[in-house]
């Protein structure tokens, strides 16, 4: 039987062009390698960028009016009038505008570290602000608050923690505090106004790099302003703006014409660069899919030419008793071995690329795995299996047509 396979192999496979098969397999390697490496890079960067994600969505901007001597004297003190909001609403690309709500009562926060703790106790006056809940991306944070609740979640700028860790703590010889530790600390918050006061146990639910304020749930601030506030309804001095493309030229022009300032504007650029990076990776990924498709076409064409050139021999084999399946077996065997080799080399190439990328990113301060991602390996195996199945289907179909 082995001898039969050898003879059949010589008869059938000698009809194909080795150069064309080599080209098609090189294409399959390039396609699988690109596909695997790019999907791997996409997943790696996506993970890194997800870790850096801000509680404020990438499509939102926080703006305020530039504080100048003129508006200080005029008393408007940089607040947004209804006309300002209406004009902003007209700008192309702006989809939603929300106002910051500010606390109109006194807030005092106190932290008692307890005996033996290295973290110092502190007391400070604070202010609260809130934005409508729809503007925050609060996947893992409990942000609901109802009157009667004694616990109060807060979101603070991550710069506050950096100021403590790299400024205050270093200067005072105190230990630095990671985010995870700070999230477990409870503060006593005392709010006073209208001759009344109330205590809350506040805790830090999250950090933001793009809102320079202490945020509390809008429901809490609305309730507390009513109960403890001075009753005045001030115009907002900060707005949160939702835009399809926050860095679009129309919005930038409008903001500079109106002398509006964007909070965390540099981080907005980074966010756009991140998006751009993912787009570029997606394009290269699409290129990988295209190369795989081209190699598939090459393999199908190879199989058709092979069957065409060997048509006479295939027909005679069929007439002396060989079944179409027996005739296809040597082609299937060779092709399976070659494609398996190409797939293994592609996966090894992907692994090498991941090690290189991991080391490169580690140098830049990003921690990533040096192992190839199983999702990318599965994708390569899946695409390779599709290539294998479809090419063999094309070979068998050609042989069946000749034997008909």
């Amino acid at each position: 039987m082995k001898q039969q396979k050898g003879l059949l192999h010589r008869l059938i496979n000698s009809s194909g062009s080795k150069k064309q098969l080599a080209l098609a397999l090189c294409g399959a390697f390039a396609g699988l390698f690109l596909l695997g490496t790019c999907s791997q890079a996409y997943l790696t960067f996506h993970k890194i960028l997800s870790r850096q994600k801000d509680l404020l969505g990438a499509d939102f901007l926080v703006i305020n009016k530039k504080v100048s001597l003129l508006n200080t004297i005029s008393g408007s003190a940089g607040r947004f009038s209804p006309q300002d909001v209406a004009a902003l609403q007209q700008v192309k690309g702006v989809s939603k505008i929300g106002s910051f709500r500010s606390s109109s009562f006194k807030v005092r926060a106190q932290f008692n570290a307890g005996m033996g703790s290295e973290i110092p106790g502190l007391t400070t006056d604070l202010f609260f602000e809130s934005v409508p809940d729809g503007f925050l991306e609060l996947e893992d944070i409990s942000w609901d608050w109802q009157p009667g609740d004694t616990e109060l979640p807060m979101i603070i700028p991550s710069d506050y923690l950096k100021m403590y860790n790299f400024g205050f703590a270093r200067g005072q010889g105190l230990p630095i505090v990671p985010e995870s530790v700070l999230k477990n600390i409870r503060f006593d918050v005392l709010i006073t106004g209208n001759g009344k006061s109330a205590y809350f146990k506040a805790y830090i639910a999250g950090f933001t790099e793009r809102v320079p304020s202490v945020l509390v749930p809008d429901a809490f601030l609305s309730w507390a302003n009513k109960e403890y506030g001075n009753g005045t309804k001030d115009l907002p001095d900060r707005l949160i703006v939702a835009a399809e493309d926050p860095a679009s030229p129309e919005i930038s022009r409008f903001f500079s014409a109106q002398t509006y300032e964007i909070a965390g504007g540099d981080k907005l650029k980074t966010s756009r660069l991140n998006t751009l990076l993912l787009v570029v990776l997606s394009i290269v990924l699409s290129l990988g899919v295209l190369v795989v498709l081209l190699s598939l076409l090459g393999l199908i064409q190879f199989s058709q030419i092979l069957a065409y050139r060997a048509a006479r021999d295939i027909r005679v084999l069929f007439l002396i008793g060989y079944t179409p399946r027996m005739i296809a077996a040597p082609i299937a065997g060779s092709f399976t071995r070659l494609l398996a080799g190409v797939t293994i080399i592609s996966i090894l190439g992907m692994a090498a690329a991941q090690v290189w990328m991991g080391l490169f990113l580690a140098e830049k301060g990003f921690e990533t795995s040096l192992w190839p991602s199983w999702e990318a390996i599965m994708l390569v195996l899946l695409v390779s299996a599709i290539l294998w199945w479809y090419t063999l289907w094309a070979v068998k179909r050609s042989i069946r047509e000749i034997c008909r």
């Binding site: 039969q4 003879l7 010589r10 005679v316 069929f318 007439l319 008793g321 060989y322």
Partner: protein, 217 residues
């Protein structure tokens, strides 16, 4: 050993012969072939001798009427059905031989022997030696003379179990002595397998045994 089966040709009429087929020919009648029967079709070119063999062996399907193999319509058989028939029941020497010129004579026989376990390459080689092919077995088949190739095609057809042996002008390129050897070997193998033989030729061939019944096409 597969069960013995019958071939029934019932008014089969190939499309190209529709107008010229004679009333008393095989095309206008019913013919039953059973294992052990011997038929000879002797006619001039263009009368459909090869067509009959090709229809019987499943190479051509362009005919009206009915051709049944063991009660099943031949037109309904799949490619795999035909392959299985050709492995164990039907054997054929084609008019154009259908050898593989790029392979040696021996490899041509091996390809057939390897298809089943009934015939060893030694048995095939012994038959080839009886037909005077021993010195040529290692040569590429394409370099052999037509006569040598024809004898090789006969040996290849005999290297398998069969109940029906179709031979389409198997001695057309042979001299008298080699033709006698071929017919002797064919009849010996057909008798051993109790097989039917259907042979075509251009002239009434007095070398054929008397058991052959002449068919008109």
């Amino acid at each position: 050993m597969p069960q013995k089966m019958a071939l029934i040709f019932d008014h089969i009429l190939p499309v190209p012969l529709a107008e010229q087929a004679a009333q008393n020919s095989v095309w206008r009648s019913r013919l039953e072939v059973h294992p052990g029967n011997h038929f000879a079709i002797i006619a001039s070119s263009g009368r459909g001798k090869s067509t009959l063999v090709n229809i019987a062996y499943g190479i051509r399907h362009d005919y009206s009427g009915s051709y049944k193999i063991d009660g099943r319509a031949a037109s309904g058989l799949s490619a795999i059905d035909w392959s299985l028939l050709r492995q164990s029941t039907f054997a054929c020497v084609f008019q154009d031989l259908k050898l593989f010129p790029q392979l040696s004579a021996l490899d041509n026989l091996k390809l057939k022997c390897d298809l089943g376990s009934s015939f060893s390459i030694q048995q095939a080689t012994a038959m080839a030696e009886r037909l005077g092919l021993a010195p040529y077995l290692d040569k590429p088949c394409g370099q052999l003379s037509m006569g040598q190739q024809q004898r090789l095609a006969v040996v290849r057809a005999l290297c398998q179990p069969f109940q029906y042996l179709f031979l389409d002008e198997p001695t057309s390129h042979l001299d008298r002595a080699n033709a006698d050897l071929v017919i002797e070997l064919v009849m010996e193998q057909a008798a051993a397998q109790h097989a039917a033989v259907m042979i075509t030729g251009l002239d009434q061939d007095h070398r054929l045994p008397h058991s052959f019944q002449l068919l008109s096409v």
